[in-house]
Each structure stands twice: as C-alpha cells, then as structure tokens.
Amino acid sequence: MMPMLEVKNIETYYGAVQALRGISFDVNEGEIVTLIGSNGAGKSTTLKSISGLAKVKTGSIFYKDKEISNRPPHETTLLGIAHVPEGRRIFGNLTVKENLLMGAFSVKGKQVIEERMEFVFGHFPRLKERLSQKGGTMSGGEQQMLAIGRALMMNPDVLMLDEPSMGLAPIIVEQIFEIILQLNKMGITILLVEQNAYQALSIAHRGYVIQNGSIVLSGKGTELIENDEIKEAYLA
C-alpha cells in the first residue's frame, strides 16, 4: 500500500540558514505518526514544509500520490491536510464562532458547516459555551481545543498538530491526547510533533526522531519508548 503522505529527502532554508537537511518519512492512512526531537531540531519546519508555509528547496512531498511540494498553504489545506500551528495561533480578536467559521472558510453550504460545528462541540463541549467570547480571552487549554476544533471544521484526512501540549497543565494535556486518540479512531490520520516525547510515543503507532534537521532514528512508538538513547535524550 502506498503511504498517504510521503516526504522524500526535503531540504528547507530560512534565508541562508538550512533548517532541514534531507528529511524523509511517511505516514500511512489511519496512523498516528509522531516527530520528536529537541527545540530547533526542525520539527515545526517539517510541518510548515508540508503545508506550504515554508518553501522546500530540494526534495519532494507526495500526498495521495500527488506531488504537493511548494503549493501555497490555502491549496494544501483544500486537499485535506489541516495544520494546527505551534502556539495555537487563535485569531484573538475574533469570537470562538468566527474562529470556527474561518476553519470552514472553503466549505460550501450552511447545513454542512452546522453539522461540523456540532461534531466539534461533541469533542469540545467547552467551545459551545463560549461561542461569542473572543478567542484571545480564553485559557491556554481552551485555545488549544479551539485550534484543533478550527482545523476539524475542514474535515481533514490528515491532521498535523504542532506541540499541542505546549504550556498546558498535565491534566489538560491528558485530555488533548485522549481526543487525538479518539479522532484517530474515527479515521483521521495524525501527524504529531511533540517535545513531550513520552506522551507522544505512547499514543503513536510510529515515531521519528529529528536532530539538527535530519532523521536519526525511527521505529514503532512502543519500541522507541524502550530505546536507551531516546530514554536518555528525551525522556529523562
């Protein structure tokens, strides 16, 4: 079976600085795949390269057998790849409802939008209570829920999450990861970037370790948790 998302040897630069030095990995339909690594290793850049926020210099990215490298982000999202950026990036001055509607920007039909909103409320009932509140006035955990909910409004096939646990209390992180698992069980493929390696690996089918813009290790989630190098570097 062809992988759903295949990244082949990509190199990405910020100006003259090389952030990715030939990254390759793949994600199969229905999987949870996690990219772990320390700060500045290139995890976020990898997601940005896939969604089109960062320009790939060499290498290629395939999604459902189509080359999608360097497509603008508003096109990759239309293909079914949703990217929840690092730091949540809620539209702070927009209400919760408006934020969700922006997620459904390209969706036609009021009925469909309503249904998806109900679907989001099913996972995040808190959002329903706060529909007319400004996004920026919510707590970090609620904002993360809104960021994921907003991405779900696109009805994505692949959900890319960048550090969803960042800055959140452990109990909230627990909830978020539980929801990620649920979404995966419903058929959404997940690509998860995390510094919180233990938590990420424990829900992931497979994982890749990124260091200095290259992949240095890969394997099943359960195997990587047991790996001594990883234990020392990321799980200590």
Partner: protein, 326 residues
C-alpha cells in the same frame, strides 16, 4: 464670546460633519491597508484625487449626452463607475508596486507609496491638460439649491444654518458607505477573513484563505471608497486639481491615527471628530485668540491634534496598545 460660538454652532456642525464624513471614508482606506499589511499607503490620497477627476469627467460626459437623466441617478451611476475604476487602480497598484516588496523592510514600500503618489499626480495632470488644456478643472454644478435650516427656532441662541443640497448628499452617501463597510467587515465571511488575515496572515492561509486575494479585495474596497469620496468632494467644491489628494490624504491619515490606525470604527470616529474640530477652529479661532490666528490656521489646528494624540495616546482613541513584538 461664548454666545457668538453658540450662534455659529449649527453651521459648524453641519459643515464639520460633512467634511468629517469625507475624511472618515478616506481614512478607511488608510486604516484597512495598514491593518492588513502594516503599510501606510500614502498614494491613497491620490486615489481620492483620481476619483475626483474621473467623476468630474463622467459628469461632464454624461451630461453632454443629454440632460434628461435625474441628478440622483446620474450621481449613482458616476459613483459606481468611478469607484470600480479606482478600485481596480488600487488593486493594480498593490499587485505591481507593493506585492513584490511584501517581505522587504517596511520603509521601502513606504517610499514606493510616495513614488506612486507622484506618478498618479502627473498622469492625471497630463491627461487633464491634454483634454481640457488646463489641469485645474471645474465640474458641472449639481445639487446646488440652498437649504435653510431654521435652527434659531430650536433655541434663540443659535443662528440659522444654510447649506447646499450637495452637503446633504455628501453626508448621506458617506454614511451609507461607512455602514455598508462596517457590515461587510463584521458580518460577512470575506469580511471576517479580512480581519483574520490582519491578525495572522500565516494562520489565515492555513484556513484555506487565499491571502493574496484578501489583500486585493482590501485594496479594491479601500480605493473604491477613496474614489467615491473624490466624486463627493468634486460635487461639493466644484473645482479640483491634481494636488488636492495631498493635504486631504494627510488629514484623512491623521483621522486614521486619531481613531487608532488599523481600527475601522476608529477611522470613522477620527474622521468625523477631525472634521468637526477643524470647522470649529475655522469658525472660532480668530474669536478665541483675539484675532491673532484666523481661519487659515485650521490646518495647523488639525496637525496640532495629531501631535497631541501621538504624545498622550499614541495607539489612538479606539486603538489598543500593542506590545512591541520581540
């Protein structure tokens, strides 16, 4: 002295509201573009001027075909055509001059904007001289009936106010434009997308929003409003030249800063306030200063307001103070 100020108040309010409405609509163009690109589009005043010329040309042309058209219909036709043309000029300006500089340091597009101002001034001057032999153009006189408002009937303190019908037209059209824009920005999908792009361009792109399209729409709307206001200005004052956009553009920019640049309702408020204050100054400065400063100092008054706002409330009346991003 107070009595004299009260006597002129109705006239000051009417003149001030009309002038303020013009400032406000032009200020919207500055504030919308700033909100979305953090660019001060100094060429916006010239878009206003271009609108005044296109409008005047259209008035002359259409009235030359036959005067059977009712004035109000004529005005609507001219407004729509002019707004569309200046809207597209704005879009073209962004596409050619600003988009290639999107990631350049902010000073560079600012200089480009000043350059575009000169280009527009000279192109319009060239065309005007070519077609009419003079770059100062006088349009037909429309809506010139006088209306007398018996404000003295309300209270004997006030004098009567009088104005041309065109004042009423200018005020009405400007207010309609503002209400429509406010509705568009706050209640429609594309308006919300515009606010989203202004807040966070990258994340907006991740919502399948075509950011370039939103920016083009912003320029279109801002420039269409600017052009339409140019038509209103020409209607009200009759005589125009290619340099009217400079000082009016500056005033509208002040209005935008006064209200909090980037804030749409702020621009409306700032414009109206500036117009009323300026007219108040024009009517009462010589009275207040015992004849030392006359009405011709009203511009100084406007710029003094800008300086005061920048000193005491740099974020503007409705703007929110923002921490400098590190």
């Amino acid at each position: 002295m107070l009595l004299e100020m009260f006597q002129t108040l109705p006239q000051v309010l009417i003149d001030g509201l009309t002038l303020g409405a013009v400032y406000a609509v032009v200020a919207l163009g500055y504030t919308m573009v700033y909100g979305i690109l953090q660019l001060i589009n100094f060429a916006h005043g010239e878009i206003f001027m271009t609108g005044a010329f296109i409008g005047t040309a259209l008035f002359i042309m259409i009235m030359g075909w036959g005067s059977a058209i009712p004035q109000i219909l004529l005005l609507i036709i001219v407004l729509v055509i002019t707004a569309s043309i200046t809207g597209f000029i704005g879009v073209g300006m962004e596409r050619i001059a600003y988009r290639p500089l999107r990631n350049a340091p902010r000073l560079i597009p600012l200089i480009t904007a000043i350059g575009i101002s000169f280009v527009l001034q000279d192109v319009i001057r060239f065309i005007a001289e070519l077609t009419s032999g003079n770059y100062i153009v006088t349009g037909p006189s429309l809506f010139s009936e006088n209306i007398n408002l018996k404000t003295s009937a309300i209270s004997s303190v006030f004098n009567d106010a009088s104005f041309k019908t065109s004042f009423l037209i200018v005020l009405t059209v400007a207010i309609l434009l503002m209400i429509t824009l406010d509705f568009f920005v706050n209640r429609t999908k594309w308006g919300t997308a515009m606010r989203a792009v202004a807040l966070d361009r990258e994340t907006a792109a991740l919502m399948s929003i075509n950011v370039n399209k939103v920016i083009s729409i912003t320029f279109f709307i801002g420039s269409a409003l600017g052009g339409a206001t140019g038509v209103l200005f020409a209607l009200q004052y009759g005589t125009i030249d290619p340099y009217i956009g400079f000082i009016l553009g500056l005033k509208a920019f002040i209005a935008a800063v006064l209200g909090g640049i980037g804030n749409i309702r702020g621009a409306m408020l700032g414009g109206i306030m500036l117009g009323v204050m300026e007219m108040f100054a024009a009517a009462n400065l010589s009275l207040l200063t015992g004849g030392i400063f006359g009405a011709e100092y009203k511009d100084v008054f406007a710029f003094a307001i800008l300086i005061l706002v920048l000193i005491f409330k740099p974020e503007g009346l409705l703007g929110k103070p923002t921490a400098e991003k590190v």
